[in-house]
């Protein structure tokens, strides 16, 4: 629902800024979804006086105007045919945002910049009505009346000082579907009572009951029907203030009578309907249900089919309105209407909801009736509207309200226990505090016994039916965010990794990737463990020589497994193991616990053919790139892109060649080919590739804090480059140089070919890279890409001694 700040201020004084009111209402449960500050909308728009207008030297249709904006004279180029010296106009200065671009099919707003128009400097723009969003006229500039003062802010000139809030009202708060309802909530914040609108009625001598009669035949569906009659009115457009205020809250002005009913609707929340009294047969209103299948044409010109459940407002002969939903075309207010009957009724919410749903027709009226209106407000609302109509459309207001009220509202009194309130919310409020909190929101409460208060629920709060509803109001008034935040359970705040669950994921992943899980015993013979090249961790009292040393690496025992399998004819192996290793720090005494370190490791092992022998595909021996691929796939899954391979020479006594692996910049293990002499010592004469990783590093690097990087909107451009470099230089070095030199446009670098042979010359190799260039905010030009390529080629030449191959 749209709510006007100026309108709210008629009922309650407050001086919150729009941001503060937004926050405060939201925290009361009236969620402000957005707001529009009209004064801000017209920032940098001033009233200007055209003091001189000359034809643009280079354009026939343009004028160059000198415009007095109060404290300065600005030169502005204007294309409107009607601009002339002496006019008071609206000037949008540099920085202003034009609400409606009349040269754009969608009318998208745009910002005024200082500009040269055909060689003449323009410091702003003189605006049309359409451009200002104040009307539809786009034929020329808007000329203001002569009294306007140059330099006046336009927001002030047009009285555009309002702030319009869009508030999402929850279904239980029908009472807040009006300015008075929202003002009441604000009243609870500033602890002020509402100033209700004063209604002064000038009634004539003739009683309304002389000219019309009202009958309710279905009191369940219509417990109350109130009406007034005004004669000899003049239908016409509403005054500007009324049109503006309705437009501001999203209601289209129609004529003075209909506008008043809408005004009272938005003010009080009570829907009204105006009938052309002369069209009511026998001057009677009969409220009854329709005949099954009856047809009726509503105000919008559509024919509706009714059911025997649909409540209708009828005259002596025919239906004239679908009660609480929409009036009929047959009795609508027209330009010639002289007498109106103003309806102000209360309809059963369920009945209206069913009708509205059945017809697929929701209106401002049905929306409020189905949520529940204030049955005690019908007379006040109709009086308010009658007084306004008299003021705006003249006429004679007949004496008295026609008020049929067969089902009187029973007073609602609710008992609420102080102890219960405190035990549900988790507070320890005193009875007096609770009473005062409830009074803030106009819920009068008195003490009824030691632990009990008695709340008299006003007729506008039909959502309050029992104790729990009172408890909610107490919590709301106390402030949800003032209620202590506590738990009775102990909750673990640490970001502990469930390593057992993660291990299961790792196992499942590797099994899915075709690995077999192996488990070797933590104790091996000393000769095997010696292969690891680390200080032996010996059992003090071994059960046998085969189980004399603890594992310092998972690799030696895995090689034993390879040996065993090869002896049984199985040579193609993809194995993994999760197990503990134990290290001895030689700088500490081996008799102290400090000297030993235990940690979990993951081992991957590849040997034999890369794919099983099968029809239609060739197989080959696994190589180090297969290993690198498997490790990359694994780490990409568990550690995202937080891992790196580092080439280093021979630091691992088990492998040659060997790569180091880091996760989040910390050493996490190695991958490489098991040294030939080690393998051969176990009679393994085919290459074996292994990778050993610290499980702790995987846990730490586990990509939980991954963040999404937006997908590129603009297409990438591909280019290939090939260089000849020293064979000993790792490709990674070249790749890094390319990436760095290619910043910021080079988004991706992929090595797609590596060759060494006759064409490269001895001691050289050729590396070919596919480069992708991309920008997050534009499509790249050929020149931008060429410039970046040039930088890359120069960098590779300089830093890697690389020669570009053409």
């Amino acid at each position: 629902m749209k709510v006007s700040q100026n309108w709210l201020k008629q009922f309650v004084d407050f001086d919150f800024t729009p941001d503060q009111l937004n926050e405060q209402l939201t925290m009361l449960g009236l969620e402000v979804e957005s707001y529009e500050d009209l004064a801000k909308k017209y920032e940098h728009f001033l009233v200007g006086e055209v003091v001189e207008r000359v034809k643009h030297p280079k354009a026939d249709r343009l004028s160059v105007c000198k415009v007095n904006i109060g404290d300065a004279i600005q030169e502005v180029v204007c294309g409107a045919p009607n601009v002339a010296a002496g006019q008071k106009v609206v000037v949008a200065l540099v920085g202003a945002v034009i609400p409606h671009n009349q040269h754009d099919p969608e009318g998208k707003p745009f910002r005024i910049e200082r500009a040269k128009i055909r060689g003449v400097e323009s410091n702003g723009m003189i605006c049309s009505e359409l451009e200002l969003g104040l009307g539809k006229d786009a034929s020329g500039i808007l000329v203001l009346d002569e009294q306007a003062t140059a330099g006046t802010p336009v927001a002030e000139y047009f009285h555009q000082t309002d702030v319009i809030y869009e508030i999402g009202i929850t279904p239980n708060r029908a009472d807040c579907l009006s300015h008075i309802g929202v003002a009441r909530e604000i009243g609870s914040l500033v602890n002020r009572k509402l100033k209700m609108p004063e209604t002064v009625l000038k009634e004539s001598g003739e009683p309304a009951s002389n000219v019309a009669k009202i009958e309710i035949l279905d009191a369940d569906k219509c417990p109350r029907y109130s009406a007034r009659i005004i004669r000899n009115i003049t239908i016409g457009p509403s005054p500007k203030w009324l049109q503006d205020i309705l437009t501001g809250v999203g209601i289209r002005p129609i004529n003075n009578v209909v506008d008043v009913t809408n005004y009272v609707l938005m003010e009080t929340g009570h829907p009204l309907h105006a009938f052309d009294f002369e069209t009511l047969a026998s001057r009677r209103i009969i409220v009854k249900t329709a005949a099954q299948g009856e047809k009726f044409v509503t105000l919008d010109g559509k024919e509706r089919t009714l059911t025997s459940e649909t409540l209708m407002i009828c005259d002596a002969e025919k239906p004239v309105a679908i009660a609480g939903v929409m009036g009929g075309a047959n009795t609508e207010i027209t330009g010639t209407t002289a007498t109106v009957l103003l309806e102000s009724a209360f309809f059963n919410p369920q009945s209206i909801r069913r009708t509205s749903k059945y017809l697929g027709l929701s209106t401002e009226a049905s929306y409020r009736f189905e949520r529940g209106t204030d049955i005690e407000l019908t007379v006040a609302a109709v009086n308010r509207a009658a007084a306004m109509i008299q003021e705006l459309a003249g006429g004679e207001l007949l004496k008295g309200v026609l008020d049929v009220y067969p089902k009187k509202r029973e007073p609602v009194m609710i008992k609420a226990r102080v102890s219960r309130i405190n035990s549900i919310i988790g507070l320890s409020l005193q009875k007096e505090q609770i009473v005062s909190l409830l009074q803030q929101i106009e819920l009068p409460a008195g003490s009824s016994s030691q632990d009990e208060i008695l709340v008299t629920v006003p007729s506008f709060r039909n959502d309050i039916l029992e104790e729990i509803d009172i408890i909610e109001e107490v919590a709301r008034m106390y402030g949800y965010n003032n209620i202590e935040t506590k738990t009775r359970a102990a909750i673990d705040f640490s970001s502990h990794v469930r390593t057992d669950l993660l291990q299961d994921q790792i196992r499942n992943f590797l099994i899915g990737a075709g690995f077999n899980e192996v488990l070797a015993i933590g104790l091996q013979d000393e000769a095997t463990m010696a292969l690891a090249g680390k200080p032996l961790v010996k059992a003090v009292n071994p059960v046998s020589a085969e189980m004399a040393a603890m594992r310092t690496s998972l690799v030696p025992s895995a090689l034993r497994i390879v040996q065993h399998n090869r002896n049984h004819g199985v040579k193609d192996l993809r194995l993994f193991e999760i197990g503990s290793i134990y290290e001895l720090y030689t700088d500490k005494s081996p008799n102290t616990l400090d000297a030993y370190h235990e940690e979990e490791r993951l081992l991957l092992l590849l040997s034999g053919q890369n794919v099983p022998v099968s029809f239609g595909s060739a197989s080959r021996e696994v190589d180090i790139l297969d290993l690198k691929g498997e490790v990359s796939a694994f780490l990409s899954k568990f550690c995202l892109d937080n891992y790196r391979f580092i080439y280093y020479d021979n630091q691992e006594s088990l492998c040659e060649p060997c790569m180091g692996i880091t996760i989040n910049g910390v050493n996490a293990g190695f991958a490489g080919r098991v040294r030939q002499q080690i393998a051969q010592s176990l009679d393994i004469d085919e290459p074996v590739f292994v990778c050993e990783l610290k499980m702790r590093s995987i846990y730490d690097g586990w990509g939980r804090d991954r963040k999404f990087s937006p997908l590129p909107k603009y297409p990438g451009v591909l280019r290939d480059l090939a260089f000849t470099i020293e064979a000993a230089l790792p490709q990674k070095t070249v790749e890094d140089v390319i990436r760095k030199a290619g910043q910021p446009l080079c988004a991706n670098v992929v090595l797609f070919d590596m060759y060494s042979g006759q064409q490269t010359g001895s001691g050289k190799k050729s590396l070919a890279y596919a480069l992708e260039f991309q920008s997050p905010d534009r499509t790249l030009t050929e020149k931008e890409i060429d410039d970046t390529l040039k930088k890359i080629i120069e960098a590779v030449q300089r830093q890697c001694n690389g020669v570009l191959r053409s």
């Binding site: 925290m27 969620e31 988790g426 919590a475 965010n481 935040t485 909750i491 991954r706 590129p712």
Partner: protein, 150 residues
């Protein structure tokens, strides 16, 4: 086990018609709104980081009273206001409240003896906040460039 849920809602950068929902319900003697807050705050701090800012707003659900929605500071704009948070600086992450006495009565529990709280949240919205995704619709576009990031 979260499963697909469906609702009548306009699809936007932060709302989907089809989504996955997690629900929580806690019933005991003497459960308070204060504890509901405590539990949800503990969750939010653990899940989104201990430095997040949050607030509880009164709201309405037919099966809880008092009802509350929990907002946390918008991750995209850091609270300054943007498209995702509809320029409010806050993002709603869950709905919650004290179990309505009518619900207890309907299942044969005496609301004078038992009280409890309930909450529900859409996993997709949760994922947005956790992974800094600025448009919820991308979750079901199944763009492989997106899928590869996770």
């Amino acid at each position: 086990m979260p499963v697909w849920g469906y609702r009548n809602e306009a699809t936007s950068a932060r709302s989907l018609v089809a989504f996955h929902q997690i629900e929580g319900l806690y019933v005991d003697r003497g459960v308070t709104f204060s504890e509901l807050k405590g539990t949800l705050v503990a969750f939010a701090k653990q899940f989104y980081g201990s430095s997040i800012k949050y607030r509880f707003r009164p709201s309405f659900f037919p099966f809880t009273e008092p009802s509350a929605e929990m907002d946390i500071t918008c991750f995209i704009c850091g609270g300054k206001g943007c498209r995702i948070c509809k320029h409010s600086g806050w993002l709603e992450v869950l709905g919650s409240g004290m179990v309505h006495p009518h619900v207890f009565k309907a299942v044969g529990y005496d609301p004078e003896i038992y009280s409890g709280y309930a909450f529900g949240m859409g996993i997709e919205r949760t994922a947005l906040l956790r992974y800094n995704i600025d448009d919820i619709r991308i979750l079901y576009e199944n763009d492989v460039r997106f899928l590869k990031q996770f």
